[in-house]
């Protein structure tokens, strides 16, 4: 081997190690960049959840016990809370789908500019405080509110309708607040559906209605599913709107947790309810994934 060849071989070896250390340095940089977020989530989210959950396993005397969970299943009051929570959540989700799906479909059909303007109407309320919107609904829905007084002046009804301070009021307010959570993912998915697919279906002999159900609707399912999961889980733990529009007659889980702490000062019981709520939410995601078969839908 000549000197030049030896030098060349040494250079190649050195290059290899330089390249390797460059690669290592790069992955360390990425790890370092992600650390603040990782730490923040650990400290702000996981630690409090872990600590609060642990409270549920202690009774009033500070001893380890399952007392708090046993009460949830034994007490009729708690059972009632769960039933109401699910009733409202399912009703809100179903109404959001019935209102949101046609709306999104229509938005994909109008010209882009019009769609952009219409989306503002969806988004502006979305950016407004939930509290403000809930009080606005109260103004509209209460016994001598705008809706009741207009309907009575028009002679449509004689007696004011009971629209607020009950289940109806809670559902109306929550649907309004939840609708954007369904519309945003669904609209994004619908816009991504290749229009050629529907054309192909029609071109090959499907009626427009058949093409919609056989091609467009299946293609929109991932977005619909994402929207349903969002609405369902947010509704499950919703507090402000049912508390105000329900007028104290509608008790959802989150309200029950709040009153358990503020009225009874029973952190263990509240914590147990919180844990059950969390598990229910996770169970719903799992269940919907099984029913809709997401892995199949998202594979493109």
């Amino acid at each position: 081997m000549s000197v030049a060849e030896l030098n060349g071989a040494a250079q190649t070896l050195q290059n290899a190690s330089t390249l390797k250390s460059e690669e290592r340095r790069e992955s360390l940089t990425f790890l370092g960049l992600s650390m603040p977020a990782v730490l923040a989530i650990l400290i702000v989210v996981f630690l409090p959840i872990f600590w609060l959950s642990s409270l549920s396993f202690y009774n009033a005397a500070g001893e380890l016990s399952m007392e708090n969970y046993a009460r949830i299943f034994e007490s009729a009051l708690y059972r009632r809370t769960f039933v109401v929570t699910f009733q409202i959540t399912i009703a809100v989700t179903v109404i959001c789908v019935l209102l949101g799906y046609p709306l999104c479909y229509w938005l994909t059909k109008v010209p882009d500019r019009t769609a952009a303007i219409l989306m503002v109407f969806v988004l502006v309320p979305f950016w407004t405080s939930v509290l403000v919107r809930t009080y606005a609904w109260l103004v509209l829905l209460q016994r001598n509110g705008v809706i009741n007084s207009s309907l009575m002046k028009l002679g449509v009804i004689q007696e004011p309708l009971q629209l607020a301070h009950n289940l109806t009021g809670s559902i109306i307010g929550m649907v309004h607040i939840m609708l954007p959570f369904l519309v945003l993912p669904l609209y994004a998915t619908m816009r991504g559906v290749d229009t050629d697919l529907v054309r192909a279906a029609v071109g090959l002999g499907s009626s427009p209605r058949g093409a919609f159900w056989r091609v467009f609707f299946p293609m929109s399912l991932p977005g619909l599913f994402a929207g349903i999961v969002l609405v369902f889980i947010l509704s499950l733990g919703f507090f402000v709107t049912p508390a105000l529009l329900g007028g104290g007659k509608v008790q959802m889980l989150a309200q029950r947790i709040e009153s358990t702490i503020t009225v009874y000062s029973n952190w263990g019981a509240a914590s147990a309810l919180g844990v059950v709520l969390l598990l229910l939410a996770l169970a719903m995601i799992w269940l919907m994934n099984r029913v809709f078969g997401l892995d199949k839908l998202f594979m493109r």
Binding site: L204, S206, M219
Partner: protein, 362 residues
């Protein structure tokens, strides 16, 4: 594939469609024979896709007539036109398997499950995808997807198949292979095919006839060979094939390039905007001595020589016509020896190859 149906002729007359001030279709008339492979060729924005979509029923024309056989179709909704369609994007349904995609037109026509299966399999065999039925679309390559789309378009034995740039997403080699395959497939099928492309070579390779579309009008409808050898307008001459051109003066049916009268066997089409001589690089002959009396003399000085593998491009400066490209097959160039830069060479353009066209068709 045997079929009880006979392929249908298509008669388009006075079809028009305007988008605002832009005429996408400007009084288009075209007769397509039963069983013909007709290509709509044109640059993007020429109106060729609008014309195809009007045939399919996705574009509503402002006026005119479209007849399939003796049935007027202008107001028939797309799903009742009974067409097979292949899209540029293939438009395969991603949530269905290959076989489900191919069986789709049969399913919506109420064909029995077992019939669907056998006919879809047969269609997949025809496009050489036998045994791929259970695969997902995502598992297929571009070329395979193209074949699935083709199988889906012909599985229900339509009398007319429309294709919108179906090969444009494939790489060059695969595209050329599929051109030959599609042509062979058309001969097996009893169907009229209307094919849209902007690739002139593809059009020349596959078509029975080519309709050149420009600014919403059909400039010329011809067989590939006649279109190439006898274009009616400068647009057609320029768009189809490689060419250079030089302005000429036409008087009393004779064209003058500079001082000399051009000898041409081809008729000179009428039109506006003056005439041009169209010179195709492969039709020029490099002569060893003087150019014979029977041919047009385009001799000049060699500016450059470019090796291109299969051929050699010689760039010659002619006093009247300007810069002219001459294509010499690489093997012949190897035998006879190439001229060198700066050398004066003889170039002959024979009367049967002398194409003179108007700038615009009248």
């Amino acid at each position: 594939m045997s079929s009880a149906n006979q392929s249908l002729p298509i008669d388009i007359s006075s079809l028009s469609k305007a988008y605002g001030a832009v005429k996408a279709l400007d009084d288009v008339s075209l007769n397509i024979a039963a069983g013909e492979f007709l290509t709509l060729l044109g640059p993007s924005g020429s109106g060729k896709t609008t014309l195809l979509m009007a045939l399919a029923g996705f574009v509503r024309p402002d006026g005119g007539s479209i007849r399939f056989g003796d049935r007027e179709m202008i107001a028939t909704p797309p799903h009742k036109r009974g067409l097979g369609m292949v899209f540029q994007s293939y438009a395969l349904f991603p949530f269905m398997t290959v076989a489900e995609n191919v069986a789709y037109p049969l399913k919506i026509r109420g064909v029995s499950k077992s019939d669907q299966k056998t006919r879809a399999e047969r269609a997949l065999d025809t496009v050489q995808l036998g045994g791929y039925g259970d695969r997902r679309i995502t598992q297929m390559s571009g070329g395979q997807r193209q074949r699935v789309a083709l199988a889906r378009a012909m599985v229900f034995e339509p009398q007319i198949i429309l294709m919108d740039e179906p090969l444009s997403a494939l790489d060059k080699k695969l595209r050329e292979h599929m051109q030959i395959e599609l042509k062979a497939l058309h001969q097996k099928l009893d169907a009229t095919v209307v094919y849209v492309t902007h690739d002139q070579r593809e059009a020349l390779t596959m078509s029975d006839r080519i309709a050149v579309v420009n600014h919403g009008r059909i400039e010329q409808v011809e067989t590939p060979e006649r279109l190439y050898r006898q274009p009616h307008s400068f647009f057609v001459a320029d768009f189809v094939g490689e060419s250079m051109s030089a302005p000429v003066k036409v008087a009393n049916d004779r064209a003058h390039l500079g001082e000399s009268v051009l000898k041409s066997d081809l008729p000179i089409a009428q039109g506006s905007g003056g005439h041009r001589l169209v010179i195709r690089p492969e039709l020029l002959e490099v002569t060893s001595g003087a150019v014979p009396e029977t041919a047009n003399d385009l001799s000049g000085r060699v500016n450059d020589i470019i090796y291109q593998g299969d051929s050699v491009l010689v760039i010659v400066q002619n006093d009247n016509a300007g810069e002219i490209n001459v294509r010499v097959p690489a093997n012949r160039a190897g035998q006879t020896g190439l001229p060198s830069k700066g050398e004066q060479i003889g170039l002959a353009l024979h009367p049967e190859d002398t194409i003179i066209v108007p700038e615009h068709v009248s």
